[in-house]
Amino acid sequence: MASNYKMKYNVDIVFVIDATGSMSDLIDIVKSNAINFYSDIQSVMSKKGKTIQDFRIKVIAYRDYVADGNEAMLRTDFFNLPEETEAFRDTVSSISAFGGGDEPEDGLEALAFAIRSKWNTEGLKRRQLIVVWSDASTHELGFGKEMENYPSRMAADFNELTKWWGDKDNNGYMDYNSKRLILFTPDVPGWSDIRNSWDNVIHYMSEAGRGLEEVNYNQIIDAIAYSI
């Protein structure tokens, strides 16, 4: 046998979910599968011969600071799975689809929060995944900054958010080799800008305004497993 040495493999995932009215179908998919999410990912991974040692997941549900006030942004801490599966399920179950106001939503603010998550820096092999679901375009950053509950330490504009994401010369807030951004969104302003200018992005381009009805659970699991 080769030298007796095993590498650790740690995975952090942040779900960024557009929780406005038209997204109820997708949110129901996430809710109904939350309890099995860890084992489903592990099952696909083990078929690929990979075992995850530490697996954490957090959720950011977003709407619109102008239209939805204190309901504009829900953020959790990371849940350690499978140990905290119940808490993860309860949190996801508490999300319901409503509000949103105009068509663009505050997806870039939600993405900014995701990028600045407290990522696991332990272990030799890591994956830091952000998975975004939306059927709408995004406001420009700062659209709702006049609102009382708008976050104070937010990226000022798209250029600053791009720096937070980083590139191969500047890590930003995430590790360049570990990070992946998976977009299940339409090909509309905000998301298309990211696809065209950021590294480490895969964009599943759904039809705008249709609540991601063409995306199914198996596709989501495959997309995540193949990104690890």
Partner: protein, 312 residues
Amino acid sequence: MTGPSIVICPEKEKLAGLGEDSFSYSFVGQEAGYISVFDGCGGMGARKYPKAGNKTGARVASKLAAYVTDKFCENGGFRFDGTDCGRLKQSLTENFARMRSKIETENSIKLGGDLFKAMPTTASIAAIKDLGNNKLQCQYIWAGDSRGYFLDKNGLCQVTKDDIQTDEDAFSNLRSDGRMSNVIHAEGDFRLNSRTLEISSPAMIITSTDGGFGYFGTPMDFEYVILSSLMDSDSDSQWEEKLSDLIAPATGDDFAVGIAVYGLGDFSRCREYFSERYNAVKKQYIDIVNDNTTEDELLSLWQAYKPGYYRR
């Protein structure tokens, strides 16, 4: 002039029927030939194509690249005149575009971003010409993170340079898993790299996908499993099987490895020739590693091994 005395291609799919690695080789005529491996990129090429039996783009790509390379060789493509790489790229580009137009459908969800490519695969090809007088002309052609090596009495030497975004050596890349910056794919804007070396035989010429070398703790382990499986075998086929058996439990991926041995008449001579190197690698780099070995100690072992590993 003679061809290789031994050719083995250990390979294994993690999931039967869904593997994304391929290989091809040919030594017809014995004076010149090639070994090659291809690793369809599962992440970038995860899209499934109903018109291709619902196979992923990654699987289609590696099989197609192996087929195109074999046809290229069959048609006298490896001429060692400085044009091989360009002509092979042209053939791959044309065949990939043709296949894509056959299997892509309009109604599937659109994919984009730099992590998506239509039918992506790595490649590591070694075309070998026996010049006589114990000299081999070896032309290594590659894209992505599949690698080409040679292994002689002085140890394993990596000839290819991984196409990855960050500047990592073979040890650090085992940890950081650097993102690839270039692979063969159906949109055409890829690069084939090439290096030609004259190598003295006896030597093994080796190609491998990252499933072969990329899941051990150190680069030294890859040399060790090649040599220890050789020492533990009595025939070519047994060596192929035992090497596969050593890689399979360690790897988290499909793998394909190609090895052509030159300058050693038969199997027992090959085993005898490499026994001294096997004992040295085992003593210096393998036996002293255990569960308590720290990362710094491994790094120190790698620093001792590295000059030889990058000697050409």
